[in-house]
């Protein structure tokens, strides 16, 4: 396993997708910071109004910033992970790896560990930076416990995407896996939005569709949980929760356990299918 981990780190560090992802992340953070700077500069001056504006708009922008971040980190996880297994099979390098005296399960677990760690690190740094910028410019009053919990949940987003990506990578070509995953991811995001809209206009049908899409791929639920954990301790009106990226219908904490079980079940399936795969 140690050797697989080492080899996978070496592999990931070399990937162009990772370099592009990091550059895009930096560009995004710069834009976000500069945007916040000018917004705060042009804020209405004076008294209670200003404090309210700062909290309301600040939170709205934080939610928006996190939404874009989740999309960035999610896309990076998919793009990095689609070929994790299938590319080795397609290029034939898997013969080198799997003919070594190692268990196939340790190939999967070692690789998954590295991919999960790297993308979670990206998610954590990104979410942390977005929060730090918002808190700094808008002088948001937050609870550090809520923020920490929020970032930790946010870090699960790429890991939760990587689980089906790995399963797909043992079953399909890199191409087919990539296409399937983006379709699935889009459905999860759209499902999540429908759930929020459904909650606002009280349409249970929409809410249920959102819940079903959350069960298939619980990334959007993780995003909503992140937002709710951060806002738990904030004194903000209902106003700011009504934006398109806000959270009206908060997923229950049970979703967190569901996500962990979801990841484990998909990993077990991945190991099972990879164990029985002909590597020829």
């Amino acid at each position: 396993m140690k050797n697989i981990v080492r080899l996978t780190f070496r592999e990931i560090i070399n990937k162009k997708i990772l370099h592009i992802g990091i550059i895009l992340t930096l560009i995004y953070l710069i834009f976000y910071g500069v945007g916040l700077h000018y917004l705060v500069k042009n804020a209405p001056a004076g008294g209670g109004m200003q404090a309210l504006f700062m909290q309301e708009v600040g939170f709205e922008l934080l939610t928006f910033g996190l939404f874009i971040s989740s999309f960035l980190t999610g896309t990076l996880a998919i793009m990095l992970g689609v070929g994790s297994i299938s590319h080795e099979v397609e290029s034939g390098t898997v013969l080198f790896l799997a003919s070594k005296p190692i268990k196939r399960s340790s190939i999967i677990m070692g690789k998954f560990g590295v991919y999960a760690f790297s993308t979670a690190l990206h998610a954590g740094v990104l979410a942390g930076a977005v929060m730090a910028l918002s808190i700094y410019f808008f002088r948001l009053s937050v609870s550090w416990a809520g923020v920490t919990l929020g970032v930790l949940i946010f870090m699960l987003i790429p890991v939760c995407l990587l689980a089906p990506v790995f399963l797909g990578s043992t079953l399909m070509s890199s191409m087919a896996n990539g296409v399937s995953m983006f379709v699935l991811y889009s459905l999860a995001i759209i499902g999540g939005m429908m759930e929020q809209i459904g909650a606002i206009i009280h349409k249970t049908g929409l809410v249920n569709m959102g819940i079903i899409s959350s069960l298939i791929l619980p990334v959007d639920a993780l995003f909503r949980l992140t937002v709710s954990k951060i806002s738990d301790f904030m004194e903000i009106g209902i106003m700011s929760q009504l934006g398109p990226f806000g959270t009206v219908s908060v997923p229950s904490t049970a979703m967190l356990f569901y996500t962990l079980i979801y990841i484990m079940v998909l990993l077990v399936l991945t190991v099972y299918f990879f164990n029985n795969k002909d590597l020829s």
């Binding site: 080198f96 799997a98 003919s99 070594k100 005296p101 190692i102 002909d278």
Partner: protein, 299 residues
């Protein structure tokens, strides 16, 4: 036995890639598996290495069932279509291999140097594999296969990517390994490669093992008697035909008869002479391995 397969079978849909294969390879043998393209050679090796799952049958490697990764501890493998992580340098690849086989850290450098020396890549090891020529990649593959000094090495078409000079070099490495007592299992569709180095041969055709044994068995069991004679009685001709001895017949005067033992020659001649046959010429020759091979693989 280092390798033992028992009724090993692999089915891809309706295609039987390997059909009921039973073979065993003992320590010290250089075992050549010969057969045309698509005969099932690579599939067999991949099953023995746990890469492809058998449809039925069993295989043991180093006495351990192949589903157990520990069976591969003392084994090296040079795959046929050989691709590496081309973002690594040759050196890094060997370092990774050394770790996978648990070579202790203080001995890794020496092992890598020795393997590089053997395959003639010394001095090029720091370059990225993507800049290696095909021949260099093949040698690197060979280096990775011999690095940990395994008891048994599988070489799947070790020379097919190489030019004549490269082929010669690989043959020399094979000779070196053979001399050091390493057991080798070599897949090839080129007889000439095998003839020189192998101690044992097996022929595979459409997934079935059609012959297998010591290399000397193949040559000895295949003498031919070439006869130029007139007036061979029809009874004797049909007898030869029935027994599958008649291998060739030109213009009713030149016969080729397959025999397994030189002692048959005087028996045949005196019988013909007694029957009043006029014999103009009789020559004995052993068939070359190539002829045996062509015979075995033809439909």
């Amino acid at each position: 036995m280092l390798i033992e397969t028992i009724n090993l079978t692999k089915r891809y849909g309706n295609n039987l890639a390997c059909d009921d294969i039973c073979l065993s390879v003992a320590e010290g043998q250089v075992f050549g598996l010969l057969g045309p393209n698509g005969a099932g050679k690579s599939t067999l090796v991949k099953m023995i290495l746990g890469l492809v799952k058998p449809s039925s049958g069993r295989a043991l490697l180093n006495g351990i069932p192949v589903s157990d990764p520990r069976s591969r501890l003392n084994t090296g493998y040079l795959p046929e279509l050989f691709r590496f992580y081309d973002w690594l340098s040759g050196y890094e690849l060997l370092k990774i291999s050394a770790r996978f086989y648990d070579i202790p850290p203080h001995r890794q450098q020496a092992a890598i140097d020795k393997a590089l020396e053997t395959v003639g890549l010394k001095g090029r090891e720091k370059e990225e594999i993507k800049n290696y020529s095909k021949g260099m990649q093949q040698r690197l593959g060979l280096a990775a296969a011999i690095l940990h000094d395994p008891k048994l090495i599988f070489l799947d078409e070790p020379t097919s990517a190489l030019d004549p000079v490269g082929r010669k070099e690989v043959r020399e490495i094979i000779e070196q390994l053979k001399a050091s007592g390493t057991t080798l299992f070599i897949n090839s569709h080129l007889l000439s490669e095998m003839e020189a180095s192998c101690t044992h041969l097996a022929f595979i055709k459409k997934g079935r093992l059609v012959a297998s044994g010591k290399i000397s068995d193949f040559v000895l069991s295949s003498h031919q008697l070439s006869l130029k004679a007139e007036g061979v009685p029809a009874a004797i001709l049909s007898e030869w035909e029935r027994e599958g001895k008649l291998l060739g017949l030109d213009d009713n005067r030149t016969f080729t008869i397959g025999i397994s033992d030189e002692e048959e020659v005087p028996v045949i001649i005196s019988r013909l002479a007694a029957g009043g046959v006029r014999i103009y010429r009789a020559t004995m020759h052993g068939r070359s391995l190539e002829e045996v091979f062509l015979d075995l693989v033809k439909d």
